[in-house]
Structures are given as C-alpha cells and as structure tokens.
C-alpha cells in the first residue's frame, strides 16, 4: 500500500509585524510545517507502523527552503519526499485549483492508495486543497476527519472515519479506497522526531520536480486568484465595566447579553 501525504511549509507571523506590499515583511516570518499536516503525517506513519509493506511518501509545493520542513516529516517516519517547484509557481498566491492540478500530476505518477492532507493550511486557510484534489483525480473523499479506524482500513481497504460537523455532531462514514482524507488536528498526538530519525532523514530522498517533470506547463499553473491588498483592519474595543454586588452585575450582564443576542431565549 502507498500513502501520499501533502505537506506545506507555512509562514508564521510574529506578534508585532509590518506589511510589505501584499504580504507580511519577511523579517517577521518564521517557517514551519503546517500544524494540520503534522497530524496527517502522524496518521500516515501510524498506519505504516500498523501494517506491512506500507510506503509513505510526502509531497510539497515549495522552494528549496522548504526542504528543512519536509525533512522533519522524513524524520518522523515518512519514507521519501517529492518537492515540486518551478519559477512559474513563484506567485503571491497559488489558488486551490492550481495546487490541485500540480498534486494531480504527482498522484498520476505515484498512484497512491490513500491520500492524506491537512484540513487547511495555517497561513492562507483556504481549507480546500484536499477536496479539490479528490475532485480533480476523481476519487472519493472525506473532509475534517478526526478519527480513522486503522485496523479496518488495513483489513477491508475501506477508510472508516469520524468526521467533525458543526455543533459537536460527528458523522461516521465509510470511504472506499483509493480516497482522499483531510485530517483534523486532535486525531492523534504527533510525535517528536527522535534524534536518530533526524539523522536518518538527512540521507532520505527529497526528489525535486519541475512542472516539466510532471508533464505540466506554466500555463497550467496560472492562478485565477490575485492578492490585491493586504492591510490591518481598524480595530475598535468597547469595554463596559459593571460595578456593584455580584447579583446586580450579573443581572446587568445578562441584560446586555440579551440585547446583543447572545444565548438562547
């Protein structure tokens, strides 16, 4: 069995920052593995540990700098990685459809039985790449998966998943492989990479691929979304202090909450 995990290096912004054009100034950014992808990697590695002969491959779209981040996934047990990059991909914003087209080319080459993605990326938060990829490759999918029955998957080739819906409702779904699952945080407890894992990861393969390597052209990755402006919204704060006994202030607070429409009647 082959499992493909899409991962992304995301920019994390410091508390205080400055905006430069349509982005946050580089000086205030730190790069790390996307939090949701960390859970997706852990789920894949747990699957690999539970089964026999399961290969886990990670794929990312990103510049050379992203190798350090993807290598952390290799340190945690991913077998090998693919990094897709091309001058044509160096855009302000890659929309979901564009990313799905790139990943589709990788999927066609790798032919994985199961694809795991994070639910969303912490930086641009589209939350749609996994589902768009499933649609693009014509596979079944389940989004926002917070539980996966690994034994069932290995025995039946069916992903029995819990999906997190609004209002605390959970849905139990069976998805036949091949399929795409978008993984929610909390599905597992991502491990720390062991130091031996980190050392071994230095010699694991991260295969660089250009668009041409994947049979794509610059025209295939023309984003239809463009960033037009980046700004900090004006923030307003309006604080009301209640003074008096607990009974009085509780009653005042209750009436304010009612006025604002908070809480059920």
């Amino acid at each position: 069995m082959k499992v493909l995990v899409t991962v992304k290096e995301v920019a994390e912004v410091e508390d205080d920052f400055e905006i430069d054009g349509t982005g946050v100034d580089d000086r205030y950014l730190e790069y790390d593995l996307n939090e949701w992808d960390d859970y997706a990697v852990e789920e894949a590695v747990q699957l690999q540990e539970a089964g026999d002969d399961i290969e886990v491959v990670s794929v990312t779209i990103g510049p050379e700098r992203a190798e350090e981040t993807i290598r952390m996934a290799l340190a945690k047990g991913v077998d090998r990685a693919i990094r897709v990059w091309d001058d044509a991909l160096d855009q302000d914003l890659l929309d979901t459809a564009t990313k799905a087209r790139v990943f589709r080319a990788v999927v066609e080459e790798e032919e994985p039985d199961l694809i795991l993605t994070g639910v969303q990326a912490g930086d641009d938060a589209f939350g749609a790449t996994g589902v768009a990829l499933a649609e693009s490759v014509g596979q079944e999918w389940a989004a926002v998966v917070n539980q996966l029955d690994i034994d069932h998957l290995l025995a039946e080739n069916v992903a029995r998943v819990h999906r997190e819906l609004e209002g605390g409702v959970e849905e139990l779904t069976d998805v036949e492989l091949p399929a795409v699952l978008t993984i929610q945080t909390g599905i597992n407890e991502p491990r720390y990479a062991s130091l031996r894992g980190i050392r071994q990861a230095q010699s694991k393969e991260i295969a660089p691929k250009t668009l041409a390597d994947l049979g794509l052209e610059a025209g295939d990755v023309e984003s239809s979304l463009f960033l037009t402006e980046m700004y900090e919204p004006e923030s307003e704060s309006d604080a009301t202090l209640f003074e008096g006994s607990a009974e009085e202030t509780a009653a005042e607070l209750a009436s304010v909450l009612r006025e604002k429409g908070v809480g059920a009647e």
């Binding site: 350090e68 290598r71 952390m72 720390y192 990479a193 062991s194 130091l195 980190i198 050392r199």
Partner: protein, 379 residues
C-alpha cells in the same frame, strides 16, 4: 570559516527545544520544590535518543559529535539546570570514559544501557577531604585475588542515588600520587555500596547530589577501567569533555535568564512605557545578550576543537569559565529586571540564579579554571 550550524544539528536543536518547552518548562519549578528526580522526563529523553548523543552507534548511542551534544545540553539548561546537570554528568562523566577507556566487554555491559538511557550513570571523584586537590584521595582499592576491595567515602556525586553504574576513582598504589589512581565500574547493587546522604542544595534540587560510602565493596577485576594507575590521566581527558558540557549548560542558563528578562521588560510598564524602553533596563538586557553570545561562541569553539581531535584543555576551561560567569551574572540581572517578582518562586529567574552558582564550582571551580588556563599560557 563557517558559523552556520549544519542542518542536521539545527533540526536536532529545534526538536529538543520544542520538547523542553512543552514537556520540561511546565514542571521545572515543581520538581525543584519537590526535590524530585524526574525519571519520566529521562525516559522520554531516552525514547528520543537524547541520552547517548555523543556515544558511538555501535554501543547504542546516537553517534553525534561534541557540538551536537553541546547544543542539546544548552537546550536542557535553558529550561532546567537540574535536568541539564544530571544529563551532562550522565553523558560526559559516566558514559564517555567507558567508551574512551573500556574494553569491548565493558562497553557492551555498562556503556550500552547508559547510551540507550535504560540506566543513569554517575562518576565519583570528589571526597569529603579532597576537592580541587583531587589527587589527594583516601578511597582505597586493594587487590585480593581476582577482585578489588574498595573502601572510602565519595562526596557530591551527581546521580548516585538513581544510577545503574558509578565510575569510582580509588588509590591502587599508595604513595604514587597521580600515578597511583585507578577507575572502577561499581554497581550500586554491589554489597557495601551505600548512598548515605542526598544533599539539600541552594538550587539544582531535582538533580540528586550524594555522599556515598564504600565499605568493603568487592568488584571483580574486569571492573577496572583501563589499567591500574591510569585514573588521573583518564580524569583529565574526561574533564576536558565534561567542561564543554558544563559550558553548554551554563550558556543555556544564561540564555534562559535572558529570555525571561527580555520578555518581562517588554511587557512590564512603568511611567507609561515598557521598562525595556528605559536605558537602564535596555542596556542591562543588551549586556545579557552579549554574554550569551560570547559564552556560546567559546563553547562551540571548544566543541569544534574537540571534534577535530585536537587538544582542548585551554578551550574547554575558557568556555566553562566564561559561560558559568555569564550564567550567574545573567541570572542575577534577570532577577533585578523582574524586581520583586524576580525574587518570588512564581517566576523563573530566582531558579536560574540558584542553579547558575554551581556552574562556577562543579567540574573544577573558576579558580581551578584560571589555574588550568594559566598553565596553558605558560604562566
């Protein structure tokens, strides 16, 4: 000349840093207050292959270099001096000598469990009447057939009460001075071995510091490490490496104290602005930063020199001397920056202050470091 850390080293440092922040920082004061050796933390460190970083893979270690080991030790010191101290003693003093001077059989039996973290290690040189003048020791090892019989008292032995093995220095040839000292691998389960005191200390209380009594402890001759009379030469080599780890640990303490002071100074407002905007506090914090940087540079240089296989006596003494002073000075300044809060146990600086003081005492006092460096300078 390249000051950039290799990617592998950076990843290891960042992973250990994350572990320290998540798993150790939240309990660092609690284990001090309870005077509790946190076995569960060391079990986790063992799972992450931290316990044998600079020990060869052949014996279950990670096979990393001294620089990697220094980076890991610094990160531990940044959150807990006590955990860092027990770790440094385990690796530099208890594990490395077996790797450097032991037989294949000794490495398989005694080094492998230390390198994997299945057991903690300790090293016993100091005695109640013998500290800086370490060669003037009273612990005796007399040969009796194919055994040695050890008698004496060892003082301030880190990890002795939690150890699976203790390297004990003892006199095998009275009157021969430095040439009459030998090293023995002692199992705390051996009859006649007793931990008689676990000291209450000014700081570092999660790291047990013990007095041990050896009363007719019989060990088979294959517990002799190296040859008879090599104990002092081994000690000097051991301390050359050990001092790099204390320098790294001290750099971590200095960095941790700086972190706390900088964060607080940026948030605490007096006279209508953060106190970091006042020259008095800004200059203090800049000096703390300067001391961390220079301590780290000296430590990394010593580690690098060690990794080249070069003589490191002066470099390691210099790093240890500088970094231990940086740790104590930064910790004191951090207490001052936090003012009244810095003096309370709800805030970390007082703990760094307590922990840092030992760095100027253990593995050779600052006075002995001056002596060592002076000799190297031909003074």
């Amino acid at each position: 000349m390249d000051f950039e850390l290799p990617a592998e080293h950076r990843m290891i440092r960042d992973t250990v840093r994350e572990f320290c922040q998540e798993e150790i920082a939240p309990i660092a004061q609690e284990i001090e207050d309870e005077h509790r050796f946190p076995q569960e933390v060391f079990d986790q460190l063992a799972d992450l292959d931290v316990m044998g970083v600079p020990v060869s893979e052949e014996y279950g270690g990670l096979g990393g270099d001294q620089l990697m080991y220094a980076l890991v030790t610094e990160e531990l010191g940044r959150v807990s001096g006590g955990i860092g101290l027990s770790y440094a003693a385990h690796v530099s003093l208890a594990s490395k000598p077996i790797e450097m001077f032991g037989t294949e059989e000794q490495k398989a039996e005694w080094l492998a469990p230390l390198a994997s973290g299945d057991a903690m290690g300790a090293w016993a040189l100091t005695e109640p009447g013998s500290g800086s003048d370490a060669s003037d020791m009273d612990t005796m090892a007399e040969r009796d057939g194919d055994e040695y019989v050890l008698n004496g008292t060892k003082q301030f032995i880190t990890n002795a009460s939690v150890a699976g093995s203790v390297l004990v220095k003892a006199v095998t040839e009275p009157g021969a001075g430095y040439d009459g000292i030998s090293t023995f691998i002692v199992d705390p389960e051996d009859d006649g071995f007793e931990v008689t005191t676990v000291w209450d200390k000014m700081g570092l209380n999660c790291s047990p510091t013990c007095e041990i009594a050896l009363d007719d402890v019989r060990v088979p001759e294959d517990r002799l490490l190296g040859e008879e009379g090599e104990g002092w030469e081994q000690t000097k080599k051991t301390l050359d490496g050990g001092r790099i780890s204390i320098a790294a640990l001290s750099t971590g303490l200095a960095q941790g104290a700086y972190d706390h002071a900088k964060e607080y100074a940026g948030e605490r407002e007096q006279f209508g602005q953060p106190i970091s905007k006042f020259d008095a506090i800004r200059d203090k914090i800049v000096d703390m930063h300067r001391k961390v940087e220079s301590a780290r540079l000296l430590t990394h240089k010593a580690a690098w020199t060690y990794d080249q296989g070069n003589e490191v006596n002066r470099e390691s003494a210099l790093a240890k001397l500088d970094a231990s002073e940086a740790a104590r000075e930064n910790a004191e300044d951090a207490v001052q920056v936090l003012g009244g809060y810095g003096y309370t146990t709800d805030f970390a600086p007082q703990r760094f202050y307590r922990d840092a003081k030992l760095m100027e005492i253990g593995e050779g006092t600052s006075e002995i470091q001056h002596l060592v460096i002076g000799r190297q300078l031909g003074l």
